[in-house]
């Protein structure tokens, strides 16, 4: 067992266990915390795969922003229904969907990628056959890839982000107006 393999197995056990906790814990804030653990463990897997930039961006965006936003929303929407667990009606369907999803994915992935060895030590060729300046996955190489081959996608993404920003403002702003009208109509309730 190489050290990477040991680290990977620990991380994968952590990932799966905490992901199961996210789905199964009845307490929503605990679910958010387990989600943090899962995301951190996946970031660790990225590090094992030498994708350094993606790993830290994962911690920065997901752990630092997305889950904090989720927690924020959880605190804003504290309702008595927040502790209810699964809907029993859905369970057989969910079990079927889960098994079939995992079955299909596992079969396809393992049969398609059997015997492919990940070389985590050597420096593979840079994309486009350019000179490999540094390790694949660091800031420089990812930046070059984004701003040469993927620049159109990058621009589209920034438009998406802008649209999301405006959309969020519109959605939450309109509701505030309606709330005010309701409050004006109904008085203090």
């Amino acid at each position: 067992m190489t050290p990477e393999l040991v680290v990977f197995w620990l991380l994968s056990v952590l990932t799966v266990a905490s992901a199961v906790m996210v789905v199964s814990t009845p307490h929503v804030v605990h679910a958010a915390l387990w989600l943090v653990v899962t995301l951190g463990a996946v970031a660790g897997c990225f590090l094992v795969l030498t994708a350094e930039f993606v790993a830290w961006v994962q911690v920065l965006i997901y752990v630092g922003a997305v889950v904090v936003l989720l927690l924020f929303a959880l605190m804003l929407t504290r309702s008595p229904a927040s502790t209810t667990g699964a809907t029993s009606r859905n369970r057989p369907v969910a079990a079927f969907a889960g098994f079939s999803t995992f079955g299909v994915l596992a079969v396809v992935l393992t049969s398609g990628f059997r015997g492919i060895v990940l070389d985590l030590d050597s420096q593979p060729d840079q994309l486009g056959g350019a000179a490999p300046p540094e390790r694949i996955g660091d800031t420089r190489s990812v930046g070059e890839a984004i701003f040469t081959h993927w620049v159109l996608a990058f621009e589209v993404l920034s438009v998406i982000l802008l649209a999301a920003l405006i959309g969020a403002i519109v959605v939450s702003g309109r509701v505030r107006d309606r709330d005010r009208q309701e409050a004006a109509a109904g008085g203090g309730s």
Partner: protein
């Protein structure tokens, strides 16, 4: 090191997320499960990047994260506005298109 453990982990994570989306009622938890699924695909993408020795997979994973951030922003705005309208964030309750 083999590529299959990573891909199996990814498949497992995706499955857990999918089951979570199906069984949980709280809209925010459903959101978390969607994040789990997105992360599973990211893991697969980064693994593919490593398999091929190319960066495209990592770039795609990066893009997925950005889209996920955008999705969370809009989704949470919607969830909070639904909560304001009817004091519940259970996805089963949100079955009407208006109010």
């Amino acid at each position: 090191m083999d590529a299959t453990p990573f891909l199996t982990l990814s498949a497992l994570l995706f499955t857990i997320g999918a089951v979570g989306v199906l069984v949980r009622r709280n809209a925010i938890v459903v959101f978390m499960c969607v994040e789990l699924m997105l992360n599973a695909t990211n893991l697969a993408l980064v693994t593919f990047a490593r398999v091929h020795g190319q960066l495209d997979g990592q770039v795609a994973a990066f893009f997925v994260m950005v889209v996920a951030a955008a999705e969370v922003v809009v989704g949470l705005a919607i969830i909070v506005s639904i909560f304001r309208a009817r004091r519940s964030i259970s996805v089963d309750d949100a079955s009407l298109l208006k109010y």
